[in-house]
Assembly symmetry: C2
Homo-oligomer: 150 residues x 2
DNA sequence: ACACTTTATATCGCATGCGATATAATTTTT
DNA sequence: AAAAATTATATCGCATGCGATATAAAGTGT
């Protein structure tokens, strides 16, 4: 492929990820609106529903977000009464994020969402598997490149 | 998979796209910094490098962005001297976006970027092909769902 | 021709997402 | 133990991204 051919949108590996990511978020929005939360807030909740009481940094790492993105996000969720924050006893720098009863309640309200959206069932199993394998490989590759720089 | 199992981050189809998209953008950033542009601005440029003189709406559609995202983006690019805007003669509502000489010059400066990044060469051909096929399928599926609502 | 609808941009408000920087607590070094 | 380096959050500034809304131009129906 020529140098200029490589600069075409359709030949980019990155663009489909960028577009798909946004389009999926748009699919989620109406369902999340019913819970009064945004997509990144939903991701934070999924992390906490699986394991309550986690440090800001831990949450950020799991979502591969910077803490300066997560901190304001959590602040809004705190104001909404979804989570609480408290200093860790072991390490006073750490802020432990916990679900409120309301935050826990949202898990039940969100339970129907995954089945309403494009998911695992909408594609051929073998194609999906290849896809997910590739995603995992690409993700760990990108994570490694990220850590390389740090 | 149980309802609650589906709410785990690792079982989401969406999350890898979200994470990969952001990580790829981070990989681009240092290279784009040299050109003084952002990733979405780079995408607009790729569209214009391929075909100069396009309407705001056309660009937005190609990037699957809303015009209310593209309009301010173009405004910044105009201020930076990368593009110009002029009313269409045929349809006075349309604003035609064109590259300035500087915007065209950036194409040469950007020519080396694709080869510097994770790309087509970093993965097994057959895996990549499956991946891209899946992406295309998913993208057209999501686009169709989008248009359904409009 | 004229009201009604549709289309193309633009503006506003709000929530990310991230680089740069600040601050406090902990760990390491000397 | 005191200084230096590291770690965990938080704050600031700026560029998206998008829903809601406004406005002007073009198209439609009667």
């Amino acid at each position: 492929m020529s140098t200029y051919e490589q600069l075409k949108l359709e030949n980019q590996l990155c663009f489909p990820f960028y577009a798909i990511s946004r389009l999926i978020t748009r699919q989620y929005q109406p369902h999340l609106d019913e819970l009064g939360i945004t997509y990144p807030q939903y991701l934070v909740l999924m992390v906490l529903w699986e394991n309550d009481h986690q440090a800001v940094n831990t949450i950020a790492q799991k979502l591969i977000l910077n803490t300066n993105t997560v901190t304001p996000l959590l602040k809004r969720m705190q104001k909404m009464g979804i989570i609480t924050k408290s200093k860790s006893n072991k390490d006073e720098r750490k802020m432990i994020v916990s679900l409120t009863p309301y935050g826990l309640l949202l898990k039940d309200k969100a339970a129907h969402i995954p089945s309403k959206l494009i998911g695992v069932d909408d594609f051929k199993p073998e194609q999906l598997e290849k896809m997910q394998k590739f995603q995992k490989q690409l993700l760990s590759f990108l994570k490694a490149m990220q850590e390389e720089k740090e």
